[in-house]
Each structure stands twice: as structure tokens, then as C-alpha cells.
Symmetry: C2
Subunit: 123 residues, 2 copies
DNA sequence: TCCTTATTAGTAATGATTACTATTAAGAGT
DNA sequence: ACTCTTAATAGTAATCATTACTAATAAGGA
């Protein structure tokens, strides 16, 4: 089952991989896997809220595990994603009641310039 | 100047247009405008924080004005975007101080099923 | 008027994602 | 074990939103 392979890769990493990166990773373990299979399963996993898609400001989508809900800080210079743990499950769950909409998921993304890139600016 | 035309269309509407929709709109007022020009200016406007890009869960990007900062509720069934005014500037600005990152923009997106689509589910 | 730079229209190219199809795997029921 | 039905897959082709490119035009300063 390729779906479990893909889910495990995402769940067992602290990186935020692209579909292509997940595909490359899968190929080491299951050399015949197809890129279409990766995309199909990523979509299914997301629809079932087993993974989260991160829409990047200037680049292609990346994927994240859903456990330990958190917010992201995304650097618009280097595209690095930083997990913001202080926006944890307790904090974020406050958002779940919005008007009377049926909220299934939510994302909080900050965009700016990371400390590393700020330093470079003044050199 | 096509840039001002594009900015005005976004600022003077309550819709959240796609690039193609903005292009169609522009053509009525400036028939020779090119789709490439629309994309280029949308990117420039976003880089200067004069508009906001909304990354849709299952579809292409849409654009929003930046005035009156608010959160979005996006229906995963019909893709309708609802502005959540209760997450207004005062509320959202609390988020601006995150660790010591230089936050330039942020987005709060809720995803779920809108009341209209929930009703359809039970029919 | 000359020069430099910015913007544009039009089109071509890119590339991430999806669609498609024939094949294989999985599972349920006898 | 065997048949039937359904689901998942590999491989490839097609799509289409976005970007890149180029020659032409516009803008603006000295």
C-alpha cells in the first residue's frame, strides 16, 4: 500500500516536503512507484485530514503532518518554513468556532523575513 | 498604467477574483491588455503588500484587497470565500509579534463546509 | 531633442498537477 | 482454491496556470 508509505514519510519527518521530494523519497523504498500515485494519495490523505497542505507564497505546495497543530512562519526570501509551537493545539482550537460554520481545518501563516535573511540584508 | 487599473479593480470589489477574471475585467476598459501584464503586476502589487493573494485549497489563486485585514472561511465543497470581519485589524494585529521574526503579512484561513453546502448534504 | 529606463503586448515555453488506461492487487463470498 | 467485483497502481499523455522572452512603445529626466 503506497498510501501508508507516503503517510509514514510525512509523519516521521520534521521537514515539509514537496510532492516531488516525497516521490524521490518513496523511490528508495519502492522503486516502481509512480509520481501520479504520490499526487493521488497526497490528495486523498489531505481530504481525510491525515496531512496538511502548505500553500507557499512563491513556490509549489508542501506537506505537513497534522499532529501537534501549529502555525507557520514562512520566509519570503528563502522560503524556509518555521513551525511556531507557541500556537499549539490549545491556542489554535479557540479558532474552531467561527460563526456557525463547520470548520474542519484551519491554517495560520505568517510571512516575513527570517532572522537569517535579515542579517544578510545588513551585510 | 495598467498597474493602477488592476489595483482599482481589486480595491473596488468585494469579490475575490482570479488572475484570469481580473484580466477579463481589464479587457473591457483596456482592450489590448495582455494576460502576462496582469500576472506581472499582480506579483508586483503583492510584493509591495498592496494586495493579498489567497491560496485556495483545491483551486488556483485569488486576490484580495489589503485594507480592513480579516480572516477567511473557505468552503472545500463550493470554494466560496467568506470574509470573517470579526477577525478584524485589532484582533489580527495581535499576531504581528511572533518570536522576533519580522512579520510583514499573515493569513488566517478556516476550511470547512459552508452553511449552504451543509444543507445540501442532508437533502 | 536625445538618452536611459520602465512598461507593455504578444507569444512561446515551462512545469506542476491531473487525466487516462491497461494492468495488477485485494478482498468478499461461495 | 476459485470466481467475481472493486480498488489501487505504474506509466504516460494531456492540461493549463504561470512565467519567460522579445521587440515595440511609453515615460521621464537632462
Amino acid at each position: 500500500m503506497q498510501k501508508k508509505l507516503i503517510l509514514d514519510i510525512i509523519n516521521n519527518s520534521y521537514e515539509h516536503y514537496t510532492a516531488r521530494e516525497i516521490y524521490d523519497y518513496c523511490k528508495r523504498l519502492s522503486p516502481n512507484i509512480s509520481l501520479g500515485t504520490v499526487y493521488r494519495n497526497l490528495n486523498i490523505l489531505e481530504e481525510n485530514f491525515l496531512i496538511t497542505r502548505i500553500k507557499m507564497p512563491n513556490s509549489i505546495d508542501r506537506y505537513d503532518k497534522v499532529e501537534k497543530k501549529h502555525a507557520h512562519f514562512i520566509c519570503i526570501k528563502c522560503n524556509k518554513i518555521t513551525d511556531l509551537e507557541e500556537f499549539d493545539e490549545n491556542y489554535c482550537n479557540k479558532f474552531k468556532k467561527v460563526n456557525n460554520y463547520k470548520v474542519l481545518n484551519y491554517e495560520i501563516n505568517f510571512k516575513g523575513i527570517c532572522n537569517n535573511c535579515v542579517e544578510k540584508e545588513y551585510q
